[in-house]
């Protein structure tokens, strides 16, 4: 299971935090601090996994990737595949990149809600629900289309839910 998905910048500021089991606000901050101190102490070409049993309990790992000014961190237990999660992060970032056209940190900060929407399409309740960047894009665009239409004319919203969607 995925216990948490975190995005933080290289200064340790959280950008997106999502815990799939409830964690109190204070504990969240503590976790972010510890995770940041662990990640920032690791130099470039070390491996992307950090055992995190002292932060999240036994059998947990941080799987992270460092993109430009951001760390993408997934906290997983032994039921997930480490290398698989690395690719999941790749999918996530690819999707963000498609959505925001050359995504950078500020996109994520300013489009807080959208990033959450994307993440929700990929991971749900701690399980990986979709791994195809294209599929995620489709779903997300549905919602955003709604947003745009909704802003222009709220009456049209009802039509959008019946958007035909099929794979392949």
């Amino acid at each position: 299971m995925i216990l948490a998905a975190l995005i933080m910048n290289t200064q340790g500021k959280p950008r997106i935090t999502k815990f799939y089991d409830h964690v109190s606000v204070e504990r969240q901050q503590e976790i972010l601090r510890v995770v940041y101190s662990v990640l920032s102490s690791r130099s470039g070409n070390l491996c992307s996994f950090v055992e995190a049993d002292d932060i999240f309990g036994p059998d947990t790992k941080l799987v992270y990737k460092h993109f430009a000014t951001l760390y993408f961190v997934f906290v997983i237990d032994s039921a997930e595949s480490e290398l698989g999660i690395l690719d999941l992060i790749q999918v996530f970032v690819e999707t963000l990149d498609r959505c925001f056209k050359n995504v950078c940190e500020l996109d994520i900060v300013y489009n807080f809600g959208k990033v959450h929407t994307i993440l929700d399409e990929i991971v749900m309740g701690g399980q990986v629900v979709e791994t195809s960047s294209a599929e995620v894009m489709k779903a997300v665009q549905d919602i955003w289309k709604l947003e745009r239409v909704g802003e222009l004319n709220p009456a049209n919203i009802r039509g959008i839910g019946h958007y035909k969607n099929s794979r392949s």
């Binding site: 290289t10 500021k13 959280p14 997106i16 935090t17 999502k18 409830h22 606000v25 204070e26 690791r42 130099s43 070409n45 070390l46 491996c47 992307s48 996994f49 055992e51 049993d53 460092h66 993109f67 430009a68 000014t69 039921a79 595949s81 480490e82 290398l83 698989g84 690719d87 999941l88 999918v91 970032v93 056209k101 995504v103 950078c104 940190e105 500020l106 300013y110 807080f112 809600g113 929700d120 749900m124 309740g125 701690g126 399980q127 990986v128 791994t131 195809s132 779903a139 919602i143 709604l146 947003e147 909704g150 709220p154 919203i157 959008i160 839910g161 019946h162 969607n165 794979r167 392949s168």
Partner: protein, 1061 residues
């Protein structure tokens, strides 16, 4: 401008390079200024984010956020906030809370927003509530209704939003409220909805399996969903279900296999490809499930062989190609599955190959997976590790902490008696680098476990433990210290007075040295005090005053630590007693005098008691003191027979005189109800009776089971004594409770130590001894360890000694020196490899026959480990044997015996006899002798105890009842001494008797080097002589563990045929 920024950012994303960060920051900011209109309509929010981003200090950021909170509070509560504004406020609240500030005032608005008809607002509301609330929050009740409604919505986006919220917000109580709707959604026309419904059901299953039990078949049905993405969602749930109950899902094995087959064969639509690999995430999940289903099930495993082969073949990269991350993820998962199920040799061979590739990879990620995979593979074939020893050592020395830890995990798994020293040494040096308590505790626990299981010698055990105490200090459980003390007092059970005294003095020296250091953890001080008290003055190097002075210093330096003080005063008492017993006049030094005076007035009754007991000794005669506290009186076996058979006669006569037969406490008290059951429970637990006691004291059940009417007249003397007796029995209960708690455990541990250390001695395990000596031979051949062992080859006995721990030590330590002087890595690594894996990395092709031959000479040399005078075995002889056995490399087992015969060594029969000797009998013999001795001593002690007690209580002893009373006090003293043995600190409480706890046949050799570096670890020859047999056993044990894979070449595809052929 913008496109330039994009180029740079893209570059940064591709390479993750850090040098563009600063550029990115500024560019990004300008960029945002230019394009913000497209992104989010609120200038306020942008300003907030910008201000926080530019805050110079934490305090400044804090004040910005606080202002924002105030602002939001005010605005959000205004009536008639437009929807769009409200949505923005909520998002800002989420942002504020993410930064660690309390936004609870706004939760209710988020909840309210979920009720909104506008889908956008609804989504934002759901997002905020899932982030704000936990499933037990009070506000949840306000959402359930909305969720119910939304799940029935005909807009699939609404349904999806509700399903996402359900995963986070529904708890056990509210599951029934939404469950029917969610189950209905499994039939929804949209695959996205079905997929999410499955996920939600899975979440319910995790939360509350009981409310889902009737739906388990649903998950099976979903597996057949026409849309693969829904099927893959079901796999997540099924993985959890299968791991909870493997048996119930065995019948799905074939389905999973066929799904995996179809996926691997690329039958799914291209849309499921990821980097041209067909649905890798589905494959990984399926492999994980198969691993669960195939574990320990031959039939199920066989069904998987072909599909696993296929998956590996399809994902195996070409030569020289590292393969993509995702194919390697699948391959790694294949290794996990293969090692979990009952795989055939071909698959295991493939798993080994992939593992090799991972280990040899440049990527740290693959190395990490490789180390993990290696750990799995060597559980099946231990020899496989040898092939990769250099890679493993590389990982161990890597700067990457994760990799290092993983490698230590691996080493922990493959520790055996032959490499325990090197591995534990590595762990200790890693522990030195740690600062956090969690990891330290974990690694300390592992070190302790390994040392207890594999320690090659007692002195090494003691040294290692001392290091652990020093580094981990109070993170180590106290029991470990007690075990160490017991080991010190017990020793190997061999009597060599000279060696013993040598050991003792070196132990004392080392602890004296250690005490000079400023900061020591309490637990180490306790051990040090105990050792000084027990052996400080025994060899005469140090005067009693010296030791006492040291002990006083220790106590003084730790004024807050009562346990250490207790140990110190007890140690002082012992030393004084030894002095008095030896007939010398004892005058406490002033320093000590004041220390004792302090304790006499201490708030701790325990310390007080100890101090008073010390004082009592000064009034006693030398003879008595000698009996109470004999020098070297520790470590003797004390047999505790709860049946008290020696009282049988007395009981019989009492019964004959008309006494009532003894009733069990429970039977006796079970007649009454309520209070008595409480009493019985409290008594059966031997609770320290500081609470109220409800029954009278007149039945001293422990000693006089009959509790008869005939006894009292003789058994209970006058009132005063009975009072003393009472306090005594009270205290005894405390003590015996300790015995109860610690006794069995302690006994078990000690036996474990002996048994494991000496291993199994069976003829069948001998052949497989081959690898170790062979590697020894290899090492010698390759000239790595010339200095260490060449001069030892002169005599068989020494040769044998040389095969044990010492040479490895020397090699190892020399490797350390080499490291300091120059970075001569390859040679050093090889040495380390040799000591870790027991073989040279360069030559792994040596035949089993050589091993057999060398083994033979070893075995013969090993026959009389103690005998140095045996004429050296001609080198030609062993050479000849080598050749001979090389002819039949595969028959190491049979050839070994023949070889030994051929060598014509007259000591052979002895060896045979020894080999077939039952280790347990040996063990019994070891234990038996001291225990009988102990029981006779204890009777004697019991009597002297009586004398002593009479002095102490200044009350006459009724001698007529000597037999029973002696028995009684015997029991008392037994429990005293027991508890004393377990816990020196508490022992004294029970009375003076237990000051003579803990016999001493202890082999403290090597303690002298305690605080020194590992280079000085090799112990004195006198000791190693004695250790001969145990080393033999440990080697044989090692051999037993290697038995599984005698075939020397790891790359051979027929590698596993021995096992599975």
């Amino acid at each position: 401008m913008e496109s330039w920024a994009n180029v740079i950012m893209k570059k940064a994303f591709k390479h993750g390079s850090q040098n563009t960060i600063d550029q990115l920051k500024t560019i990004g900011r300008e960029l945002s200024m230019g394009t913000q209109g497209n992104w989010l309509s609120s200038k306020e929010y942008l300003d907030l984010v910008k201000a926080i981003g530019e805050a110079k200090s934490k305090a400044e950021e804090e004040s910005i956020v606080m202002a924002e909170i105030e602002h939001l509070k005010k605005r959000i509560m205004e009536p008639d906030v437009p929807r769009k504004k409200m949505k923005e406020y909520i998002i800002r609240l989420v942002y504020v809370e993410m930064l660690g500030h309390d936004a609870s005032f706004g939760y209710i608005y988020a909840v309210k927003m979920t009720h909104d008809d506008n889908l956008l607002c609804k989504r934002s509301g759901y997002l905020a509530t899932t982030l704000f609330l936990n499933e037990d929050h009070d506000l949840i009740i306000l959402i359930v209704n909305t969720i119910q409604k939304d799940l029935k919505s005909d807009n699939y986006l609404v349904v999806c939003a509700a399903l996402t919220a359900v995963c986070k917000l529904i708890n056990e109580e509210t599951i029934p409220a939404v469950l029917p709707q969610v189950v209905d959604l499994l039939g929804h026309p949209k695959e996205q909805v079905r997929k999410k419904a499955v996920m939600a059901l899975h979440r319910f299953q995790q939360r509350s399996p009981s409310s889902m039990s009737h739906l388990l078949t649903k998950f099976r049905q979903i597996l057949c969903d026409k849309d693969p993405s829904v099927m893959s969602a079901a796999l997540c749930a099924l993985f959890d279900l299968v791991s909870a109950d493997v048996k119930g899902f065995k019948n799905l094995t074939a389905s999973f296999v066929s799904i995996l087959k179809q996926v691997a064969e690329h039958r799914l639509p291209r849309a499921y490809d990821y980097h041209r690999t067909p649905a890798p995430f589905i494959q990984i999940k399926l492999l994980k499930i198969l691993a669960l289903l195939g574990a320990g099930d031959k039939h199920a495993s066989e069904n998987m062989y072909s599909v696993l082969m296929d998956v590996i073949k399809r994902n195996e990269p070409g030569k020289g190609d590292p393969g993509s991350n995702i194919t390697n993820a699948i391959l790694y998962e294949c290794i996990c599955t293969i090692t979990a199920i009952m795989a055939n040799s071909k698959l295991l061979g493939l798993a080994a190959e992939i593992t090799s590739r991972f280990l040899k990879s440049d990527s740290h990620n693959y190395k990490y997976m490789g180390i993990d995979a290696l750990g799995r593979v060597i559980e099946i074939n231990p020899d496989f590790a040898e092939e990769h020893q250099l890679s493993v050592i590389d990982c161990l020395e890597d700067q990457d902490d994760t990799l290092k830890r993983k490698t230590l995990d691996l080493l922990y798994k493959m520790t055996k008696s032959s490499n325990v020293e090197v591995i534990v040494d590595r762990m200790i040096s890693y522990m030195r680098t740690l600062s956090d308590a969690h990891n330290k505790t974990e690694i300390a626990t592992r070190i302790i476990e390994l040392t207890e299981r594999f320690a090659p010698s007692n002195q090494w055990f003691i040294q290692t433990m001392n290091q652990v105490f020093e580094l981990a200090g109070d993170l180590v459980p106290v029991k470990v210290a007690h075990d160490l003390m017991r080991l010190l007092s017990k020793g190997a059970g061999e009597d060599d007075e000279e060696a013993d005294s040598l050991l003792r003095s070196s132990a004392v020296e080392s602890y004296l040295q250690l005490l000079a250091e400023p900061k020591l953890p309490s637990i180490l001080l306790q051990v040090a005090c105990w050792v000084l008290g027990e052996y400080g003055t025994v060899d005469g190097t140090h005067s009693a005053d010296d030791i006492i002075g040291k002990l006083c210093d220790v106590a003084e330096a730790h004024p807050g630590d009562n346990v250490v003080k207790g140990y110190a005063i007890t140690a002082i008492t012992k030393i004084c007693a030894f002095e008095i017993g030896a007939g010398r006049e004892v005058e406490l030094i002033p320093e000590c005098r004041s220390f004792v005076d302090d304790l006499l007035a201490s708030h701790s009754t325990d310390l007080q008691q100890r101090a008073y007991e010390l004082q009592v000794f000064f009034g006693l005669g030398a003879d008595l003191v000698r009996k109470v506290l004999p020098v070297n009186g520790s470590g003797e076996e004390i047999e505790f027979d709860r049946e008290l058979p020696f009282l049988q006669e007395f009981v019989d006569s009492a019964l004959a005189n008309g006494a009532r037969p003894y009733l069990d406490e429970n039977e006796r008290l079970g007649v009454d109800s309520g209070m008595s059951s409480f009493v019985s429970s409290s008594r059966s637990h031997h609770e320290p009776s500081h609470g109220l006691r409800f029954e009278a004291y007149e039945t001293p059940t422990a000693a006089i089971p009959s509790g008869s009417a005939a006894a009292p007249s003789s058994l209970l003397p006058d009132f005063e004594e009975s009072v003393t007796e009472l306090t005594r029995s009270v205290r005894n209960q405390t003590d015996s409770s300790q015995v109860d708690l610690l006794g069995p455990e302690v006994a078990r541990l000690r036996l474990d130590g002996v048994q494991r250390k000496w291993g199994r001695t069976s003829g069948s395990s001998q052949p497989s001894l081959a690898p170790t000596p062979a590697s020894e031979q290899q090492r010698r051949d390759s000239g790595v360890s010339e200095g260490a062992s060449s001069n030892k080859e002169s005599s068989p006995a020494e040769l044998w000694d040389g095969d044990g721990a010492e040479p490895r030590h020397e090699i190892y330590s020399s490797s350390f020196e080499g490291k300091k002087v120059e970075r001569e890595i390859p040679a050093e690594k090889q040495r380390l490899a040799a000591s870790l894996f027991g073989g040279s990395s360069v030559q792994k092709g040596s035949s089993g026959g050589v091993k057999g031959g060398v083994k033979a000479s070893k075995a013969a040399g090993n026959v009389r480990p103690g005998e140095k005078g045996v004429p050296p075995r001609p080198a030609a002889g062993s050479g000849k044997k080598k050749n001979w056995s090389a002819a039949e490399p595969k028959q190491a087992s049979s050839s070994l015996m023949d070889l030994v015969d051929m060598s014509g060594d007259d000591s052979l029969p002895v060896h045979d006899a020894k080999a077939s000797y039952d280790p347990f009998k040996e063990l019994e013999g070891l234990l038996g002798v001291p225990s009988t001795a102990a029981s006779s001593t204890s009777v004697g002690l019991g009597k002297s105890t009586m004398d002593f007690m009479s002095l102490y209580d200044s009350a006459p002893v009724v001698s007529q009842s000597a037999s029973s009373l002696a028995g009684d006090s015997d029991v008392l003293s037994l429990s005293h001494r027991r508890s004393g043995g377990m816990d020196g600190a508490n022992g004294v409480e029970g009375g003076l008797i237990d000051l003579n706890i803990l016999p001493s046949l202890s082999p403290l050799a090597g303690l002298g080097e305690l605080a020194q570096s590992s280079s000085s670890l090799s112990p004195s020859t006198g000791v190693s002589d004695k250790k001969g047999p145990s080393r033999q056993h440990s080697l044989q044990k090692d051999a037993a563990s290697r038995q599984v894979g005698v075939t020397p070449t790891g790359a051979n595809p027929a590698l596993f045929q021995d096992l599975f052929g």
